[in-house]
């Protein structure tokens, strides 16, 4: 545990250079999207969705989507750079750290980054009156779980490629469809059967669903437990995959 924290500390020191800009953008982004989507698009969606106004209905989806975007942002280029360009991981492996410490410390930092931007989003959403229940605080652990469910397998993918061309492919063919078909902007019930299954299989929709129940204060029922466990499964499987790929690249 402690060695992972030491690795995380390194990433935090590195982050210190850019935190101002990064905090600013994590505030500006929700502001703009809420103005654009919530107020602008919301004006067209009269009558709301599932009996809820469009803005409060969509905000939890955007928060979950922000968590996923953050998780992917941190587990693609920064990870490849740590292997290929700056070679941070190789410097770390010469110290008394194990592969699990190097991976764990970096993932912990990724979760920290996601947590800060989700907190910023929650704050902005609260100011816009888009949160309907104190259960909205449950968004924080849900976002962390969702972020792990995405960051761990994506880190495993990044650790398996050698150029960032493959990262661009991942964004185009996996991330973009996932963001569109996971119930962020409209309910997945309006999707054809096949695409609905895409939403069921990928992690984002489960996070969206859980976040939505939280901010709207709706009882999600026992299905929520299964959704959370499904995200845990993505996270655990992702961890083992990533550990295996990291090991293959660092211990040669």
């Amino acid at each position: 545990m402690t060695p992972s924290l030491q690795v995380m500390e390194y990433h935090l020191v590195n982050y210190r250079r850019t935190w101002r800009a990064s905090v600013l953008s994590s505030l500006v982004l929700p502001l703009l999207t809420m103005l654009g989507f919530g107020v602008g698009v919301g004006a067209y969606v009269t009558g709301g969705v599932e009996g809820v106004d469009y803005l409060p209905w969509m905000v939890p989806g955007l928060i979950a989507s922000t968590a996923v975007q953050g998780a992917i942002g941190e587990s693609t280029w920064p990870v490849l750079s740590s292997f290929e360009w700056v070679k941070t991981y190789f410097a770390q492996s010469a110290a008394p750290l194990r592969v699990a410490d190097i991976l764990g410390g970096h993932l912990a930092f990724m979760l920290f980054r996601v947590l800060t931007s989700v907190m910023a989003f929650l704050l902005v959403a609260a100011l816009f009156g888009a949160l309907r229940s104190p259960w909205a605080l449950a968004v924080l652990p849900i976002a962390l779980l969702l972020a792990l469910a995405v960051a761990a397998p994506v880190a495993a993918y990044t650790a398996s490629v050698s150029t960032d061309m493959y990262l661009a492919i991942l964004i185009r063919f996996a991330v973009l469809p996932m963001s569109l078909f996971s119930g962020v902007f409209f309910p997945i019930e309006s999707l054809p059967e096949v695409l609905r299954w895409v939403a069921f299989v990928l992690p984002l929709w489960h996070g969206v669903d859980l976040c939505r129940a939280a901010t709207l204060g709706i009882d999600p029922g026992p299905g929520a437990v299964w959704q959370a466990l499904y995200l845990v499964a993505w996270g655990v499987a992702g961890w083992f995959l990533a550990h295996w790929r990291y090991r293959g690249r660092l211990v040669i």
């Binding site: 500390e9 020191v13 590195n14 700056v86 010469a94 008394p96 040669i252």
Partner: protein, 307 residues
């Protein structure tokens, strides 16, 4: 067993390619030990096994009396590693590169800061402590990497080509610092292409070629065993030096024909040169010098060392 490094029949294979082909090595505490060899000899592969980041394919390897396969982190806690290619963090400051690295060894922040300042002083980078690493010169980065390798006060320091790519001034500064470390009793293991580096710093060295050890001993002993006392370098005004080889037959122990010159291995260089002139051969240039490790290497592998 008081060897810090003990290897028997050590082998490293990469997908069928054998990079290190059964080497035996013992390095004792306080020694400065060198791996000398051309590109691809297997020096870095060996260093990475010793540094416990690359598991041996076969053979025995004990570092500080422990088994790298089982005790990797415990061993690495007592090693300092300067890899062949710098992997500093270019975005962090010079000092932060040391302090964050020190944290990986569980060194408290305050101690890390104090030690960073000491080490920056040692490698003469104090003035750059707060500047980013990226714009530093190659020599400065190398010195910082060496400082980083010392941040945990290691028992054993591994330096993979510490001075390759540095200008002569920077190289001499690094040598001087390494020499001081050696005097402080730190055990040094280094790889190099530079014969003068090996002669200056190493108490003992092995010459590697094609993954094997082809000779071993002190620089002095190696020169005595594998070369003559002096060497005469002759350049003839022609594209084909080999035409002169016959005409030089019998002078000294042996001759080595290189594309641009001929080397005569002799006991007494001036006598040999006199004999060359007596045979009415007139080289464009002639140089008598003491034999060096370069000659040992040439003799052992039949090749010159080129970077």
């Amino acid at each position: 067993m008081n060897s810090l490094i003990h290897a028997r029949g050590l082998i490293k294979r990469f997908e069928g390619f054998t990079a290190v082909d059964g080497i035996d090595v013992d390095v004792r505490a306080g020694e400065a030990f060198g791996f000398l060899g051309p590109n691809g000899a297997g020096k870095s592969s060996t260093m990475r096994m010793i540094g416990c980041v690359s598991p041996p394919t076969d053979g025995v390897l004990r570092i500080l009396g422990m088994d790298p396969r089982r005790d990797g982190p415990r061993i690495r806690a007592r090693l300092g590693v300067c890899p062949q290619l710098d992997n500093l963090d270019p975005e962090l400051t010079v000092r932060e590169n040391l302090t964050t690295y020190a944290r990986f060894f569980g060194i408290p922040r305050r101690v890390a800061r104090a030690r960073a300042d000491e080490l920056l002083d040692f490698v003469q980078l104090s003035e750059r402590a707060d500047s980013r690493v990226e714009p530093l010169s190659g020599g400065m980065k190398r010195r910082l990497t060496i400082a980083r390798a010392l941040v945990n006060e290691p028992d054993l320091v591994l330096l993979d080509e510490p001075t390759t790519g540095l200008d002569p001034q920077a190289r001499h500064l690094v040598w001087e610092r390494l020499f001081r470390l050696k005097q402080q009793g730190v055990t040094l293991v280094l790889t190099t292409h530079y014969m003068d580096e090996a002669e200056q710093l190493c108490d003992r060295l092995v010459v590697m070629d094609g993954g094997r050890i082809v000779a071993e001993g002190s620089p002095r002993a190696l020169i005595e065993t594998h070369s003559t006392r002096e060497v005469v370098e002759l350049r003839f005004p022609t594209d084909d030096q080999s035409g002169y080889a016959d005409k030089l037959a019998g002078i000294g122990d042996r001759a080595e024909v290189l594309p641009d010159r001929i080397l005569l291995y002799v006991g007494d260089g001036d006598d040999a040169l006199a004999e060359v002139h007596r045979r009415s051969l007139s080289p464009a240039s002639a140089l008598v010098r003491r034999s060096s490790l370069e000659d040992v290497f040439l003799h052992l592998t039949g090749r010159t060392l080129v970077d």
